[in-house]
Structures are given as structure tokens and as C-alpha cells.
């Protein structure tokens, strides 16, 4: 009998398998696509096309502290230091093609969805141009209204239909609509379990050490349409649920004193530094705005619903939704504070942050801080600044706690 694995073991296995399969596919002459992280992968999965995600790969390179070499390479070719560092790392990798963080095969075509930002359009245009390969673009208009308007849904659906034709042309294969239905079902189901698992952190103390969200994120990106992914997140949700029942907190050796939310992407090159400063202060990051972006849930075979779901991630929604979303997280997860990462790479997230912070602060009264950093460029972060800001947050949270205690 096989011994049952923990979700953490499974996670690593699946990630390794994901990259190995893609490299293997390339070797045997199969098509490989590069895709943005929240693209409708259902189409690719249906056609059994292997996909790798440059954002995942760039994050892995960042976390292994070897981003600088790739950044230097692309900057030397004229890429500005002000551009997204995932793009700079990836474009550098296209030239260097070798990293200790693992390798990815070069793409035969690219698959781009701008629900996460318009920057990916430009980044992917450049990949397509440099490698002379076709590009499939899903343009999901930014929602200035609270909900996704109907004419946007119609436009996105039109693009889905268009993409099927493009994929059939590129692969020379027919699109299998029955298989598509199945993949849609699995994808929604996986997303539900991902959401379920991250919601377990609402328990006090949280069974989840929130930095794990960052680790599991790589898998929700690349395994959402696969049964293995579904099983992983189901297992993880169950583990967390059991832990919560046993009232176990995030750490064996420390107590969860404060519960905070992290807004934005991690600082991959300083993942453990940023984590340690929080842990030292008894701060558990229990939730974040970002991981919820993969909670893409819709009814199987409902293309309009799928269009709406893909356009509903917070990065593509208006500021009012952004504030409401955080206010809800503050309530659902009983938060004591918020850490906003002013990420040099991500203008779309940054340039609403100040106003969202004010709105959330007015409505919830909980303290928050903003620190300067970057998702992968090691030069744009200062540990000293980060520590000072976190310390200030702790002081404010402590003050709030005292006030609450005095009132009671």
C-alpha cells in the first residue's frame, strides 16, 4: 500500500512534473505555449497543449535569488528599469535559457490575457516578435462599472470563439467540445477548493501560515484545469480544516498575535526575510487580495459565465470593488492590520493603493502600512525600511488592542 502524501509533498511533485512534461513535450516536437497566469487555460487543456507560465518561472527565479542576471541581460538590450520585473526576467531568460531555478521550453505560440494588466500585452507582443511566433490575445476590458457589463461579456465570448479557430489553425487539430465541457468542470471545481482552502484561514488562530498561499499559488496557476490540481487543493483544504478543528495555529513554535492581510504580490527575492520579520512580531498573514484572483468559478458549458468570471478578478475591477473586497476580508478574517506592497513592477495595483487604503481605513478603522518593494527586482527593496514599517504597524495594532480592551 502506498503511504499517503501531504499536500506539501504533492505540491512539489506536481510542480516538477509540470515543468518536466513541458520540456519533454518540446523535445518530442509537441506544441508548447507560454501563457499569462489567469488566462482561460481551459482552451489549451482541452487541446492537450502543454503550457508554461512565465510569471511563475520569473517568480521562481526571483525566489532562488538569481533574478539579477536575467534583469541585467534585458536591461542591456534597452528594457527600462521601470518595467515589470517579471517581464525583464523572462525576456532575459529567452536569451540566456539556463537557470538554477529550473528551465522552461521556448514557446511555439503565446497565450495572453490582460485581465491582470495591459503590461502583459506589450510584454507578450515582444516575445511574439522576437521569436516569430503567433499570439492569441484575450482582451478583457477593465471594468469601470462595479460589475462586468453585458457588452464586455459579449466581446470576450467573441474572442473565445475566435481563439478556438486560432488554436485549431495553430495545432492542426479539431477542438473537442465534450472534452472542453469536462475541463471547464474540473477548472471550476479546483477553483472552489482553492477558495475553500484559503478560507480556512478565517479560523482563529488560523491553521494557515499565509505565506504558504504564495507557495501554493504556483500550482493554482498551472494545475487549475487538471484532476491532479483538483485533488491537491481538496487535500490541502481538508488538512487545514482538520488543523482548525484541533485549534492549531500557523506555527508550532510561536503564537499568532496579529492577523494581517497582504496586498499585492510577494517580494520573491526576500520571501523569507519578509516572512521572518512578520513571524518575529507574531504577525500571521492570513489572507491576501491576490490569491483570490484564481477563484474563477462558473457553470460548466456556460461561455458567458466563463467570460464574466475571467473578467471579475480584482485587478480588473473598479476601485469601489477593490475597497469593498478588502473591507470584506477584514471582517471575514478578523484582521488587525493590512500591509500594502507598493510594488514597483505593478502600476495597475499600485496606483489605486493610496485611495483604497484611505477608503478601507475610514470604513474599518484598522491600521495599515505601505512599503516599497518589487516582485523580483532585488534592487528595489530595503529590509530596513520594511522592518521599520512593520514595527510601526505592530505599534498601531497594539494601540488598537489596548483601546479595545479598555472599552470592554
Amino acid at each position: 500500500m502506498k503511504e499517503s502524501k501531504t499536500s506539501k509533498q504533492l505540491l512539489q511533485e506536481l510542480l516538477n512534473q509540470h515543468y518536466e512534461e513541458a520540456l519533454e513535450a518540446k523535445k518530442s516536437g509537441e506544441l508548447v505555449a507560454w501563457s499569462t497566469s489567469i488566462a482561460p487555460q481551459e482552451f489549451l487543456e482541452t487541446m492537450d497543449i502543454k503550457v508554461v507560465y512565465p510569471e511563475n518561472h520569473a517568480a521562481a527565479i526571483g525566489a532562488r535569488k538569481c533574478a539579477q542576471e536575467f534583469i541585467d541581460n534585458s536591461e542591456a538590450r534597452g528594457y527600462s528599469i521601470d518595467l515589470c520585473s517579471y517581464a525583464r526576467v523572462n525576456i532575459g531568460y529567452m536569451d540566456i535559457k539556463e537557470s538554477v531555478a529550473g528551465n522552461i521550453p521556448m514557446p511555439d505560440f503565446i497565450f495572453c490575457c490582460n485581465n491582470i494588466c495591459n503590461t502583459v500585452i506589450k510584454w507578450y507582443e515582444n516575445i511574439a516578435k522576437e521569436l516569430h511566433i503567433p499570439m492569441i490575445l484575450f482582451d478583457l476590458p477593465f471594468n469601470h462599472t462595479y460589475e462586468v457589463p453585458d457588452h464586455s461579456v459579449k466581446y470576450i465570448r467573441g474572442q473565445f470563439e475566435n481563439a478556438i479557430v486560432q488554436l485549431e489553425e495553430i495545432s492542426g487539430k479539431k477542438f473537442d467540445y465534450d472534452r472542453f465541457k469536462e475541463v471547464m468542470k474540473i477548472s471550476s471545481e479546483t477553483a472552489k477548493w482553492w477558495k475553500q482552502a484559503s478560507n480556512e484561514a478565517a479560523a482563529r488562530p488560523s491553521p494557515l501560515n499565509g505565506f504558504d498561499l504564495f507557495n501554493y499559488m504556483a500550482t493554482i496557476v498551472c494545475m487549475r484545469g487538471k484532476k491532479e490540481g483538483l485533488n491537491l487543493f481538496k487535500l490541502w483544504a481538508e488538512e487545514l480544516h482538520d488543523k482548525a478543528k484541533r485549534k492549531e495555529g500557523p506555527w508550532k513554535d510561536a503564537e499568532e498575535k496579529y492577523r494581517v492581510m497582504w496586498d499585492g504580490i510577494a517580494c520573491w527575492p526576500y520571501l523569507s526575510d519578509t516572512y521572518k520579520v512578520l513571524k518575529k512580531n507574531g504577525i500571521n498573514m492570513v489572507t491576501s487580495t491576490y490569491p483570490d484572483s484564481w477563484s474563477i468559478i462558473y457553470d460548466s458549458n456556460d461561455l458567458d459565465g466563463m467570460a464574466r468570471a475571467y473578467s471579475s478578478n480584482y485587478a480588473n475591477r473598479n476601485l469601489e470593488f477593490g475597497a469593498d473586497n478588502i473591507v470584506k476580508l477584514v471582517e471575514d478574517f478578523s484582521l488587525d492590520g493590512i500591509i500594502f506592497h507598493s510594488n514597483r513592477s505593478c502600476k495597475l495595483m499600485d496606483f489605486r493603493q493610496y485611495e483604497v487604503q484611505r477608503k478601507v481605513s475610514r470604513r474599518t478603522g484598522i491600521p495599515s502600512v505601505i512599503f516599497d518593494g518589487d516582485q523580483t527586482d532585488p534592487r528595489a527593496f530595503s529590509l530596513a525600511q520594511y522592518e521599520t514599517r512593520i514595527q510601526a504597524l505592530v505599534e498601531m495594532m497594539e494601540q488598537k488592542k489596548k483601546e479595545r480592551a479598555n472599552r470592554e
Binding site: 541585467d72 536591461e75 538590450r77 528599469i81 527593496f381 530595503s382 529590509l383 530596513a384 525600511q385
Partner: protein, 257 residues
């Protein structure tokens, strides 16, 4: 007689050439743009050559402060002047790296010494002499001793931040964490070299590589640069005066033509 004046942000330099292109005299004054530095350096270079102002047939001014100096017959940029001066001294030069107080530049030359392309640093001070000054201040070390300090380093530390302000706090916390001053000094030189190498990458590096400007006297920067761009870097004998020499050469051509 031909006069070239190079007014930088922190130093003023001057060179006088005779009509056979011999350098009659040169001077470097540690005062940059403004009225005092340029006047002093011109006075010094004239007296060294035993000449008076009237004997100068033509003068060219270059450098950061060239717009504010009224006494020259013509002003030409430091890009062209460094190119001309370097090519005169070293005709094999194809790439020039000039790190000044405010600017870092990389200049590519063709076989005839003409400027083929050039790149300059952006607004940020990382990769310039200014960055080293800030580092020297934090390390409580005179700027001209920074290189010596760095040579004693036992290990290489990384200063990862681009921004001078950020780098400052990074260094302060490293010192607080017990990192040795000499290791930090070495890291600072490496950081400058990395930035300049990035700049060079934008237009490409072709040997021979020559370094001009005051920072070329700093051996640690030169060593670090060689490592980063993977080419030998030659430092001219008096690297600070190359711009002024180029200006004087231009002055000569104005009359000669």
C-alpha cells in the same frame, strides 16, 4: 596656443596645446561649476605654461558647466571631447567609459575616432561618483581612501539597491549587523561597476576599452569594471584631463581648418 577647459560638477580642468599638438601644461582644480573653479584652473594652466591670455589663439570649453563659462570661443560637449582626447592618446580605443561626479557615460568610437554611439546614465545617481561619495560618508572615510579601504576586503558583499537613498539604508543596516567596512567599500565599488556595465551593455562594448574621468584613478572601480564587462580596461595616464585635452584639440582644429 590652444586652450581646452573642462568644467565638471566637482573639478575644473584645463590643457594648453601648442601648434605641434604638444601638451604645454595641464591643471586640475577641485572646484567645479561656478566662476571660481574655471578661473583658477585657467590661471594655473597659463602660468604653468608661462603664457598670458592673449597668446591663446582659440579656446574651447566642455563639461557640465560649459554653458555658464563665457570666455571660451566655442563650447562642445564632453562626449565629443572625451572621444577626441582619448583617440589622440590611444588610437586603438573603441569604447570609452567616463564616470564623473554626476554622469556616467559610455562612448563608442569608430576607426577614425568619430563618435558612433553613446549612452548616459538616467536621473539616478547610482553608477556615478556621487554614489561613491555617499558611501564614503557612511563609511566615515575620505573619498580618495575608499579604494584603499576596499582593497583590504576579505569577502564580497552585495549592495543590491539601485537607489542611492535605499542603498544608504541598506549599507547602514549591514554595518549595524557587523559587516566590515572594507567589505562594504568593496560592495560599493562593485555596485557602481554593475550599473556602468549595464549602461555599456546598451550600446555594446568593443576593445580597447579606455576609462577616463576622475573615478578612473580609483583602482577598485577599474578592477570591478573589468570583471563586469569581461574586458581589459586601460586607464590613461592623467584620466581627468582627457576632456580638456579633447577640447584643446578641437580648438586647434578650429584655427587649422
Amino acid at each position: 596656443m590652444f586652450l581646452g577647459v573642462d568644467i565638471g560638477s566637482t573639478t575644473s580642468k584645463a590643457v594648453i596645446l601648442d601648434s605641434k599638438l604638444n601638451i604645454l601644461s595641464a591643471s586640475v582644480i577641485n572646484t567645479g561649476t561656478g566662476t571660481l573653479g574655471p578661473e583658477k584652473t585657467v590661471k594655473a594652466v597659463l602660468s604653468k605654461a608661462g603664457l598670458n591670455e592673449k597668446e591663446i589663439q582659440y579656446s574651447v570649453v566642455t563639461g557640465y558647466g560649459r554653458m555658464t563659462y563665457q570666455k571660451a570661443d566655442k563650447q562642445i560637449t564632453e562626449i565629443s571631447c572625451h572621444a577626441r582626447g582619448t583617440f589622440f592618446l590611444k588610437p586603438n580605443a573603441r569604447t570609452i567609459i567616463d564616470i564623473g561626479g554626476q554622469d556616467a557615460k559610455v562612448i563608442r568610437l569608430d576607426e577614425d575616432g568619430r563618435v558612433k554611439n553613446f549612452a548616459m546614465n538616467d536621473k539616478c545617481a547610482a553608477g556615478t561618483g556621487r554614489f561613491l561619495e555617499v558611501m564614503a560618508r557612511i563609511l566615515d572615510c575620505r573619498i580618495n581612501r575608499l579604494s584603499v579601504l576596499s582593497q583590504k576586503a576579505t569577502e564580497e558583499i552585495n549592495i543590491s539597491n539601485t537607489c542611492t537613498v535605499f542603498a544608504e539604508s541598506e549599507v547602514i543596516s549591514q554595518l549595524a549587523a557587523g559587516v566590515k567596512r572594507e567589505n562594504v567599500a568593496k560592495g560599493a565599488h562593485k555596485a557602481v561597476a554593475k550599473r556602468v556595465a549595464g549602461l555599456a551593455g546598451r550600446i555594446g562594448v568593443e576593445p580597447d576599452v579606455v576609462m577616463t574621468g576622475g573615478v578612473a584613478l580609483n583602482k577598485s572601480v577599474v578592477d570591478a569594471l573589468e570583471q563586469e564587462i569581461k574586458e581589459k580596461v586601460t586607464v590613461l595616464k592623467k584620466p581627468q584631463i582627457v576632456g580638456a585635452l579633447g577640447a584643446a584639440l578641437y580648438a586647434f582644429e578650429m584655427i587649422d581648418m
